[in-house]
Each structure stands twice: as structure tokens, then as C-alpha cells.
Symmetry: D4
Subunit: 253 residues, 8 copies
């Protein structure tokens, strides 16, 4: 339920065109819809400016189905599902034929409305090819929320000239997402070369003593460069969401 709809409903009550009982029925799940196994937060769009996102990992397919169905019934304009397996993607597509599925990052999007376009660019960089899976989760999230994205992939610090070669793209960006596994040094190097916020995303890419992403995580937390903050291992969505929040600040409203 969007802000305009609520205001309009209240006007109708005031004008006597809607009974209190009718208004109550429409408003009662303003805050959230109770599905028993889930409480879908329709108030969030109002409160935070973004629609609810469905994190599918660990949820039973029938629960995902129920949540998507409820969202569609509430006319949610943009639905973003993350960590979507092909099986769950099929469930979602059976409800909405227009749902797009991106298998590499495991993302499913139903887009029946557009977010406002932002002027500033978000640069999404990766250390290697294998980090692209996480980077695409971030990049698609940014794009969905109206942010132009520059992808700068495979610029790990072992071949510094590849990174320096793309430096102007990175410096033109308003927010930078640095996605890297292994030793995660990419974030520090970019942080030292730029004066914009860097959101570091450690990935679980690597082997041996990378401990599922801990090596990159610690590296990023201990960065000697300033202006860097870190999200959870492999949390591409979180980085994309935060980048959108920050990027939105850069234009007068």
C-alpha cells in the first residue's frame, strides 16, 4: 500500500465515501500481512522507501510461493528475490510469467514499476572472475533501485596495472562496491585511490586458509585505508542496497 493510497482512503472516510469499517479492513494489514509463517512488511515501502525483499535461502518453496502471492495481491511494484535456486525460480515464474531469473547470482525480479533514476554511478569491482556471482547480486540490486552501474571485473591487486587502467571509471563513481575473496586487498587499494565511500564485500572464493571468506573479511575490516566499511561475506544484496541508499543522497530532493 503506497502513501498516496492511504491518503486517498483517509480522504474518502472524511468525506463519508468510505465507512470506518471498510477503511479499517483495508488498513489493518497496512503494517504487515500475517501469513502465519511470515509477516510481510508492507509498511517498509513507506518507512524505508524500498519494497520488501525475499531472501529465499532456507525457506520452503511453498512459503516463498505464499509470500510472492501475497505481494502480488498487494500490487507491490517491484519484487526482488535473492538466493533463488532454479526450483524456486520456477515456482515464482508460475505465479508471474514476467519474472526474470538470473541464474549466476540466483536472483529473480518482478518489475512492474520503475524506481526513480539516480544521477550518480555505482562502480562494482571484483578481484577475480569467480567473484562475479556475488558482484552481480550487488549490481542487479543497484540497477533495480534506479542506479546506473559500471562493472569493473577481474582487477585484483596481483595485476595492479589492470586496476590502474580503470581508475578513471572508479573515480567517476559516486559509491564503489569492492567485491573480493582470497586476501581481499582490493578494497584497501581502491580506498586509497578514491575519495568516495567504498563498500567492501568479502567473498567465500578461495581455498585453504581462506576459511569460507574469513581471510577477506578480516582483511577488509583491518584496512589501512579510510572510508571503507564492510558487509557480510557474499552479501552482494546488502552492498547494493546500501550503495543505493548512499547514492540517493547525492541529489537535491
Amino acid at each position: 500500500m503506497k502513501e498516496q493510497e492511504i491518503l486517498s482512503l483517509l480522504e474518502q472516510v472524511k468525506a463519508g465515501n468510505a465507512s470506518v469499517a471498510e477503511a479499517f479492513a483495508q488498513l489493518k494489514d497496512l503494517s504487515y500481512a500475517e501469513l502465519g509463517y511470515a509477516k510481510i512488511d508492507y509498511h517498509r515501502q513507506l518507512r524505508n522507501g524500498y519494497p520488501e525483499v525475499i531472501y529465499c535461502q532456507g525457506k520452503a518453496p511453498e512459503h516463498v510461493r505464499g509470500i510472492v502471492k501475497s505481494m502480488l495481491e498487494h500490487n507491490i511494484g517491484i519484487i526482488l528475490a535473492t538466493r533463488v535456486s532454479p526450483e524456486v525460480a520456477a515456482v515464482i515464474q508460475s505465479l508471474a510469467a514476467d519474472a526474470e531469473y538470473y541464474p549466476i547470482p540466483g536472483i529473480c525480479i518482478i518489475r512492474r514499476q520503475e524506481m526513480k533514476k539516480q544521477a550518480g554511478v555505482v562502480a562494482v569491482c571484483t578481484g577475480g572472475t569467480a567473484d562475479i556471482k556475488v558482484a552481480e547480486e550487488a549490481a542487479l540490486t543497484c540497477e533495480l533501485y534506479g542506479n546506473p552501474v559500471e562493472r569493473v571485473y577481474d582487477v585484483g591487486v596481483a595485476g595492479l596495472h589492470r586496476l590502474l587502467d580503470k581508475l578513471d571509471i572508479i573515480r567517476r563513481a559516486n559509491v564503489i562496491i569492492a567485491v573480493a575473496g582470497m586476501e581481499g586487498a582490493l578494497a584497501s587499494v581502491i580506498g586509497g585511490l578514491s575519495d568516495k565511500p567504498v563498500i567492501a564485500v568479502p567473498t567465500s572464493i578461495g581455498y585453504g586458509a581462506n576459511f569460507g571468506g574469513v581471510s577477506a573479511l578480516l582483511s577488509m575490516l583491518n584496512s589501512c585505508a579510510s572510508g571503507i566499511s564492510v558487509v557480510n561475506i557474499d552479501n552482494g544484496f546488502g552492498a547494493g542496497y546500501l550503495a543505493s541508499m548512499i547514492n540517493k543522497m547525492n541529489v537535491p530532493e
Copy 2:
């Protein structure tokens, strides 16, 4: 060396008012001053918009003295030293009588120039009273860089009404810094109540299985709320610096 000084010097060379040799002597440590034990990055002010910061922990007092001395000779307008013990503070104050020392966060500031004032507010919140030490490092950094700060201290989630009571202050802020030790839940709760970026600072406050801040760090990294990113344990400066970066974006330039 500030941007204007460089341009002016080049104009003088062009006009024949300065010899190439003279200009070279002044420009040669534009990039950094080599002290042997340290390379002070005077280029950073140009590159990143902020002066060099001195992280004093682990540095010998004579090294700190040498670095401050060099900065003063280069007419750096604002010098920020962090993790300053009373002994090191005395060293700094012997070089600059106007150096202010804040013993709780261990910060020393020489302020001979003002940063541009920002319009947006940064809210600095803590879970408890013992987290103030870290929070003040963040708050003073923000203020030094021109950001108005609202302090909202001791609003840990165990007494939720204290936090809810301050909600309007938090919601009016442009960026929020959430400082908490123990279980670090403050970041998640604030993240769920606000639509602005939340920079979470885990602190080492606690005992037993907090493992020097790991409990709060993991809690913040795994937050179920969106829009949260994390800096290193007790890294108040890092949070303040990043908040300044983001806050600066919110005004048309």
C-alpha cells in the same frame, strides 16, 4: 600543500616570477615527505579532500613528534591524532600549544583552519555508557570535518523505550553511527527503524564470550536489517570519517 598554492606556484613559474629550480624544491615533496621511518602523504588532502591523520598506537613518541613537526612545517590546517596516550599528548602539545587533548577517546586536535560546515546531521548512538569512549572518537572526527553531531548515548535494546524515545532525533539524521559492544543488537534495531545508512561500530566492551568485540562484530555483520555496514572493532575514527564522506554527498556542490 593545498590546491590553490600549487596553482599559484605554477602561475609564478609561467610568469617568470619563480625559477624552475625554486618551484621544483617546493613541489618535490608534494606527494609525500620522506622522514625515513614515515612517508607523510601531503597529496592526500588534494586527492581525498582530508588532511593526514596520525594513528599513534604502536608508534614511538619521537616518531609522532617528527610527523607532527613535519605537518606543522607544511602548514597543514587540521591535524588529527588518534589513540593518543597522555605521554604522547604532552609531546604534541610541546610542539603546538593550541593542541586540544580529549583524554576519554584519546584524541588530540590541532585546528588552525575550519572545514566547510555540512547541513546534514550525523547521529552517534551507543548501547551503553562504556561505549562512549569509542563513540566520542567518531563524534569528534565528524565535528572536526564539519558535520553537526547529535549524541544519543545509552540507548541499548534492553530498555527499548529509551531508544524509541529518541527516535525522532535518529530519524532526522542523515547518517547514523551505531556504537555497541556485548550483543551489538543496537545496529539492527536502528537499521530497521531508519532509511538512512547505518555505520555499525562493534566495541570490545563486555566480558566472557564477547571475545574482545567479536560477538558484537558478528552480530552486526549478520544483521537482518538492510542498509548497515560495519567497521573494525573500536574503530570510531573510521566510522566518523566514512560518515563525513557520506554526509558531504547530501548537498549540491
Copy 3:
């Protein structure tokens, strides 16, 4: 063997209606039945007031079969099997057609007797939908042992209004079980809002730096709220059992 049966047997011996040899045969495994691979503790019902529970994970199906068979022969009124795979459920149902199987929490119950109903209510809360698997293990255990249960699911702290909306249900409860993965902040928030014991159950739900539930575990152990204690990760049964113990205390006997 229940208390009444033992007393009755002893009366029979006293009255000469049962020989010492007969009584001995019945009493000899009063303490436990020796199956070689397992020693079933029939004394526990007397000692602790609850029947033996079968933790099936890691046990060979034929061992589970043998244990259930022995229990049925001893006329155990309530048998609770946890961590039951569909294969093991089939084994149990082949022995007792009335065995109910709950696939989500992996629980199997043979209920031929009712536990005394308790007056107080146990509230079982979860942070998210994916935590329900563990929560149902707790809730079914509570119900089996005679406790009315209120399920309050998907009330994670990122959408605090969902939790506050259910606050009266939570406050009416006598004991609260808080089940959460990720950052596990639910326990602290509930602990701060209620004056009843909170049993916190960390779950392994999450990804990245949640380390199989460690993030929630540490968060709960370090809670800044009082009145909270913690059981093992994913240990829904343990929480349900303890809640039953505490809830039973609340009525005069």
C-alpha cells in the same frame, strides 16, 4: 514403569499375591533396560517426571527400532523422537501405526497417554520464517508435555513494529522461547520488554559470517538484557523441555 505400578507390585508381594521371584523379574530393569547398544532409562520418568526421549541423529535405524520396541513393551505412555528422517519415521510407524510424524521439525510422537495440562502459556517466537523448523521442535515438545503454546513467528528486530504488535501475547506468557539465527537480537529485545524467563535458541540460519549459528549464539550469550539463558544451536527440544520444567513450577501442586 510408573510409580503407581511399583507401589502396587510391592503391595502384591506384601500380600503374598506375587512371589519375590516374580516381583524381581519385573523390577530388575526398573532402572534401565540393557539393549547392548543402548541403556534405556525407565527410571527417568520416576526421577525427572518425563519419559525418555530418542535423539535419532547418528543412530542406526535398527538401533532406533530396538529402542522404540523396548519402550512400547514397557508401556511407555508418551514417546518423543527428535531429528527423525523420513526413513526412520517409517521404521517407527511400522512399529506403531499411531505414530505422528512432523516432517519440518523432524519429530515423531507416539502419544498413548496425556500429560497433565498446565495453566501458564509458553510463547515461542522466531526472528524469521526459516527459523520455524527449530521453533516447531520447541513448540511441539511443549505441547506434548502439557503446555499451551502461542506461536509468534517472523517478528525479527529489523521490523520492530511486527514484534511490538504481538507484545501483549508475549507478555501474557509465563515462559518465552526466542528462536533466531543471523544476529540473534530477538532475545535481547524480548528480554528487555518482558519480566519472564527467556530461553534463547540460536539457529544455524544465515550465511557468511554466521558460522553455523555462532553469531546468534554469541549475541544471545552477551545479551545486555537480564533473565535470558541460552541452549545449544538449533536445540529446539532442549528449549521446549526446559520451558516445560519452568512452566510446571507456576501452579500450586
Copy 4:
């Protein structure tokens, strides 16, 4: 401010014996007193039934002084300060000459009112002599809140006969607190011998691979006995508080 005082104040307003302005002045910090560095939660006594507790570790002595002073001005009947160093104890005693200081557990108590006495007994058991420091924090908390306490110290499982010898005391208790370091097996053994809730407190006592209490913590979390829950390492206060909560449930109100 206690419940009765609030009701009485409201009656006065109703009867015209107190002006609205006067009542407001008294009620305005009902919820908490704002000290800037701390927000003292006077509402908690109403909400949770217990007065605020001051956790002194990490707090500056002047902050503790300010908090105690505010509490005394609000006529708080019982003030409990934990983790009190001798220096901080002197500060408290300078404000309240009747403050009792217990140096082994580091506890300071100002008792100007008595809590209602409970009928049930709390048994506080330790594995060894060195655990007494933590156990006394638990025991004194229980006693302060009106619970009779039985101390059963140095009954570690390496000399099982010492524990079995005290079994009747343990079994008569309503709630059991098991305090142990090293391998922490005490909780499991007591849990297997009793049908009452066991609150396990791991201590940091030990050496080598005990890792500051982690060995006991993991041992207690993984207990094969039922009815056990765990609080943070060395958290005697938390165990005592929770035991009080549970013990209060055992009597008809």
C-alpha cells in the same frame, strides 16, 4: 518511583490535591533519568519487578558516582553494583555509608528496603574453590532478591562422592545454579540427577586449552542432560537474576 507512588499521585491529581504541572514534573522521568552519559531506567522496576543494576566494569568512576547519586535521589530501595573494584567501592561508600562491599565477587549493595521472601530455595554449586568468586555473585544476587540460598561448593565431578553426598540438598532446591570452569561437567551431572531447572555458569577458571572459559561454555551448551541452559562466562549476576525470576514463579500469587 514505585507503583504505589504513581497511583497515589494520580489520585491526588484526580482529587485536585496536586496540579497537573506538579504531577507532570514528578512523572516526567518515570521512564528514565537522562544523565547524558547514561539513561537510568526507573521504569524497569515497574516493568520487570526489579531495580536497575549497575554493571561497573568499563564505566568511569565519576559516571558510577553520578548514577548512584541519581538512584539515591529517586529513593531506589535496593541498589546492586557488580564488578566493583575497591576504588569504585570507595566512591559508592562515600555516597552511602550503609553500602556493603563484598570484595571476592566485587559486589556492592545498598539495601534500604527488603524484597519479598521466596519460599523455594536456590542451590548454588561450584566445581572448585576458585569458582567461588563467580558463585558468590550469583548467591548474593539471589539473596538480595529474597531467595534463600544453599551453597554447595567444591563438588567437582572428579570426586563424585562429594557431589552425591550433597544430593539431597541439591534435590530439595527449586532452581540450581551450577558454576564450573575447566571441563564444566558439573552441569551435566547435576542435570541428570535433578528434575529442576539448572542454570549453568561457565567460569574462566582453568589454564591451557580452557581458552578463558570456552571449554566449560561449550561443554555446558552440549550437555547430554536436559533442563540445562547457559549464561555468559563468569556471569554470576545473570544466573542469580534468572534464578530469582524462576523461583518467584513457584508460589501462588
Copy 5:
């Protein structure tokens, strides 16, 4: 090659019944047989009194085949293979039809010679039914090396009477192997009740915060009882081998 064979060969050389060249050929791999991918240590039987053992986990089946084949050609009297999958067992049985396979502990034995019988008994105890897999690896190793074994299974400390009931068996033993997962308290309790060496074997049985056996391992290392030492997690063979070594010491030779 056994001690007697070497002496006999040397006597033959001395007597002129064997040429030096012939003797050399037989003696040259006395120390070990070089297979390229493995060096089989035939000297160990002489040096340590026991035949080589094949730890199969991580070895390619063809490597196991080659090693067993070489051993059979060298007339090794007892071959013990551990961590044997059914596939590898089939490989071994194709070389030696008399190879016995025990699927639960994953052990395969070719026994063409008997070890000397020991007088003392080794007691192998487990905390639960699921620990039997590891315990049988220990028990079969002991028996293979000539030690009588008493199995005392499922005597975990949560039901202490089951353990006390078997106390006389445990006390009659010369060496005790205590196998337990979860909190591993069994070792401490047995250690406190016996005056014989206790070899503690932590198992990976459990869930949640048992961390693959770390909880039991730490518990056993930190035991407050004396006379306990620990082998690696799930290392039943190591415990059985060491118990054999110790048990052999108890009889005059």
C-alpha cells in the same frame, strides 16, 4: 619380516647355506618396501612390536590394493585397515578372501597369525549409542592385538546410575577407553572413579556448538580429574593402539 626370520637368515649366511647376494636381496627391504607412492615400514614390527596399519581415508583404492598386496607378499601375519569404505573393502577382499569387514567402524582385518593374549582387560565405554562407531574401532584394535575387551556402552553422565551400575567392570579393567561426544564429561567422571589410566576419545557426535567434536575435545583436555590423556577426535584406532601398549606392560615378560 619377523625377528626370527632375520636371525635364521643370518645363521644360514654364516653356515654358508645362503650366499651374501641372496641374503642381501631378502634383507634389502627389511627397513621398508618402496612402492613409489608409499614406503611400507616392515621394520616397524621389529621396532615397535606391531604390524603396519593402513589408514585408508584419502588414499586411492589402487594405492590401498598395492599396499595390501605388498604386505601379503611379505607374509605379514596381521593386517589392519581402518576407515575402510565398502568399495575399498571389496578391493581388499579380492586380494584376501579371509579379510573380515566390520562396516560400522569401517575396519578390515586379515588375521593369519595371533598376537599374544594379554591378561589385563581393556574397558571401552561410550557416552551414547552414536559413539559406538568410534568405540568399535578402538575395541577391535585392542582385541586384534591380544587384549580382552569389556564393552560398556551408553553410560553417559546424564543417567549416572547406568554408569555407577557398571562401576565394578570399569574398576576391574587395567586400562579404560572413554569415548564420548557432546560435552564429553564421561572421561572426567570415570577418571574420578578409577585409579587406572583413562584414554579419552572425543567424538564428532553432536550438533550445534559441538563444532565437529571440539566441545568434547576441550572438555577432555581440561578434565579436573587426573590420569586422563586425550587422542584426536574420532581416533578410535589410536586409543586402542595406546591401550594395547599400556596393557602389555602389566605382565612380567
Copy 6:
């Protein structure tokens, strides 16, 4: 109270030379002496063959005083105190002038009776000079309990010839204690060269990634040699006690 004394007392009662009341008074603390803060286990000498040992770390000096005083009053022939600081040593020596104090391992011994001498030798080996502190705790314990000890110090594997040079001493021993920090490889190398039980003691000696002894502990637990078991980090006493137990087995009784 020693076995002979008990038998003699019972004979007196039987013969009418002691009243039941008198005998009871003497027997009543047969099991342990209750000091409130400690329960001294005088039964252990009977049960395990060894006197009680006082682990002083973490105990208040007055508690140690009380325990030693009680032991002296019960005529305990051998008292061993470990982890004794110079201050605590002075307390003990004020009670027993004949108490010997060994400052390097921090051991204090009151020896008024001799243990039976064993025939077999215990070899105590260290990797380096800094491990001697722990090794002496083991060696003195062995000697106190009647075992001849061979000290083989500073034979770390980096200079293998030093170890091989002492091989005959090591091989003549009945039990071997291998004490090493850093990488702890000593235990594996000795284990491969000997056919006697090796008790490995990891020490906290080292720096960097030794993590207080964890590197040596893991190394020893994962030893590829057989016949090795491990005690806690720095637990010299535990190793000495266990070696005594095993060494005692080697002679016909």
C-alpha cells in the same frame, strides 16, 4: 587416613576396644573434610593410591593455608602443591618448615613419607630450554611418586642429531613424556622411534601464530605416529601423574 588405620579401627570396634561413637567420629570425614570453601578428598588416597594435590592457581592464599593445615592435621604423608607463587610458597612454609619450594616450575612439596620406588624409568624430554619450566613440573611429580626420571632437555627436531644422540636413553625408558611448544613435532618423532607410551605435553612457549600453545596442541593431537596421547597445554603435573600410573603397571604385584 590410610587403609591400615581403617582396618585397625574396625578391629578395635569388633574387639570392644573402641566404642561405635568413637569410631564414627574418626570415620566421619573419611570421605572428605568439609572446609566450606573446599572439600578435601581424603578418600582419594584409598581410592586412587595417591594423596590429594593442591592446584594453587586462582585460589586465595588463605584458602591454600586452610587446605594445607587440614592435610597436615590428617597426617597426609606427601603433599604436592602446584602453580605456587613465591607468596603462596611462604604461606605453606610458615605451616611446614620442611616444605621444599622449586621456583622454576612453581612447585611446593612436603614429603614426610616415601612412595614405593618403581623399577621402570620415565624419560622427560623437551624441545627447547624454555619448555623446562613445564618439564620440571612433570619430572618432580614423577619423582615424588617414586619413579626414576631421566631428563633429556633441548632435543627439538630442528637439530635432529641431538635427539638421535639420546635415543638409547629414550628407548630404555618405560614411559616417555614429550614436552614441546612451537610446532610440537618432538612427540611425533619420538613416537616413531619408540614402542613405549608417549605422553605429549604442549607448552605455550612460542610467539605469533602459536596462539598460547594451540599450534603444539594440534600438532600433537594429529600426530601420524601411534602410541601418543596428549594432556592440556602446560599441564606438566597431569603428564607426570599419568606416567606414574602407567609406570606402576610394569611390575608384578
Copy 7:
């Protein structure tokens, strides 16, 4: 593009035999080829003397295909792919029929040019048979880069005579690679016996408390022998590459 080709191209431009536009086209991806998902570093051969290596783990098969295709088009003389599954090997072989696949170490090599042969030998040693998988990754890398290799497999310290027997081979080598899992003591023992650099490779071989190679890693990092350095767990390629670098230094150029 090799050094000679660049020089020759520049000569052609100078001589007027190539236009600037033609030269530019050839030079423009001198630095790297941009594939979008990867940036292949053709400059590295010039910069570091070795061709690019393809680490296949975590890369999509189509990405590997694209990278190999680009390399073949650039006439790279030696292509080394590591962590190659059979599926990916088939992809590579479909592009280059002469690609050799080594399934045990998972390596694929396309060799259309030979590296210069080195005089010095690299010895590759393993503790056990199961470490061969990693050792072969190192050995094949060394051989590919022109180094003669001596394989000394299965010489773990538990059977020290096997290692001592091969000592002359090890001592003749110029660089030694020590590959070991479990307790990883091999590196220390070899380090103590040799005066050449030892590159230690911990492997994940082992079980229980080896924690995926951490036990060997810590052991090697804490080695008491000098001249040892460590690469990541299972990183055979890294060790081989570094050994090649060092070995190349040993001959006058």
C-alpha cells in the same frame, strides 16, 4: 606477446615498415585482454617471466573456455590450468587436442614451447601417500617451468628411517618442497637437516582436530627450524612456482 616480438614491431615502425595504426592494434592489448568477465594479463610474461595460469576452481566452464581460447589466439606457449575437474578438462581438450590432463592433481597443460632447463634440482617430499595429490601439483609446476624434480614421497616423521634413507637426495636439491598434512612435522625435520630453502605446504589431509589443514599450517608457521616459509593449505602450485623462481637464481645469467 613476447619481448622479442615487441622490439621487432617497434623496429618495423621505426623503419616505416609498419604504420602507427597497425602497431597500435597489436600493442593495445599488450597489457591484458579484456573478456568482460576476465582480464588476461599478457603483460605478466614480460613482467614476471612466466605465462598466465588459470585457476579453474569457482570459474564457470564457459569462462575457462573463453580464457583458454584467448590465450591460444595470443600464441601463449605454455598454458597451465589448475584445479581442473574432468568436465573442465574436456572443455580445454576440445580447444587443444594436445592438452594433457593429470587427474590426481587436477592439472591440465598445453605445452607448445619449452621453458629453459634449470641446473638445480627441486626435491618434492610428502609425509604420506594421501598428500601426493598436492605434491604432484607442485612437482608438475616445477617441471613445466624447466626444473628437474626429485619425488620423495611417504617419508613422514613417524618412520624417521625412511626419511633419513633419502637424505642425500634431499640434500643435493637446491630447493625443497615439504608437503604434509596431519601434524606437518616433516617441514621442521627437513629444515633442520638441510641448508637450502624449504617451502612448506600444509595439506588438508587428516581428520578430527586437523581442521582442514590448520594443524599442519600452524605447525609449519611455528617451526623451530630456520629457512622455512609457508604457502596456503593445499597450494601445490604456489609452492612449485616459488621454487622455480628461487631455483632460477642459482645459475649465472
Copy 8:
């Protein structure tokens, strides 16, 4: 005892100028000198080409005195003591007035003989000023063993231009030692820019989630650049020793 002395002694025996008994007396501690608490390895100079080094941390001052005294008596030409406190330095200087003490790295050197000068240079780089303590341990070790050293300090990746500015120095070196704490990215960046072996030394410099150097250690182990190996945290000596070994290889002998 140096090689030449041994040969000369043997010649004397052969020529009848020294008796066998005399020669034996001189040769008997060729291998090592037995001090009881230490075995000084005089054979190492022969075997490895370098004199014994004294690692002083954890050794009693009288043990250090004894070791130095023995070395001086054996005419060892170069003695290097590391981790030397001022107190221990005074002990050494009382034995050898020419001992030089370097307090920052805590090194003490007695230099009565020069090592052969090497042609190649070792570059020692640090990320920051606080890493110099460890770097000097490495640099002084290199110089002592005859290697020219270039110090390149404070070139952390946050100010990449400082590092790039020194690139020619780094590239001219034969071996590079990269010393860094915090996120340790320096090693990766240098590794990518150079084709010489890089020895990475993680330092414990940093705070919060650096965990005493673990962050830098993991970062360096997981480096995406090739040609890097790692020594223990803060192990400057180990890096210097290994660099010397490698650097010595670069000249024809």
C-alpha cells in the same frame, strides 16, 4: 669449531702430532655442547653454514648467560641474540663488551668475524611506521649474514603512490621481505609488481579484528599473487635468515 680446524686436527692425528685421545677430547662436542638446560649446536655452522642463534624470549637470564659464555669459549665468530630485553642485553654485554644492542628490534650482536658479502640486494619493506620493529629484526639479520639491504618503510597500500615511487628499488632487489600488519595487502601488491621471491612477514600491529596478526597472516597466505611465502607473525629473524639463504644462491660458487 670450523671446517678448517677439524681438517687440521685430523691431519695432526694422521701425522702423529696429536694423540687419538687429544683429538677425541676436542671433537667430542663437535656436534653440540651439553649444558644440561641447553644443547648448543656447534655442528650447525658446518651443516647449515650459519652460527647458532639465541632466541632469548622465555629463557632465564642465567641460561642465556651460560649459552653465550659457551659460544664465546668455542670462538664462535658471530653470535646473534633475538628478542633481547634490556636486562638480558646487560647480561650479554657483561660477557662481551663489544656486543651491540639494538633496542627497537631487541637484537644483540657479537661480531668478531665477517660473513662473506653477497652481491644481490635484499629489499625490506613495511606497510607502516609501527612495523619497523619487526622489519629491523629482518634487516639486521640480513646485514649480519653479508647481504646489502635496502629499507623501504611506510609504503602501505592506502597511499599507493608512495609504493610505486620506490618501485625501481624494489625491482632491483634479489629477494623482497614485505612486513605488514593490519590487512597485510602489501605482500600481494609487491608480489604482483615483481618477479623475485617475496617473503611475507605478518605483524601483530593493528587493533580490533586483527587478532594479534591473524588478519595479516591470512591475507598473506591467501595472496592472489604468486611467488609469495609466509613466515610466522612478527618473525623478522626467520624472514631475514631465509632471504640470506636465497640471496646466497644467486652467485656462482
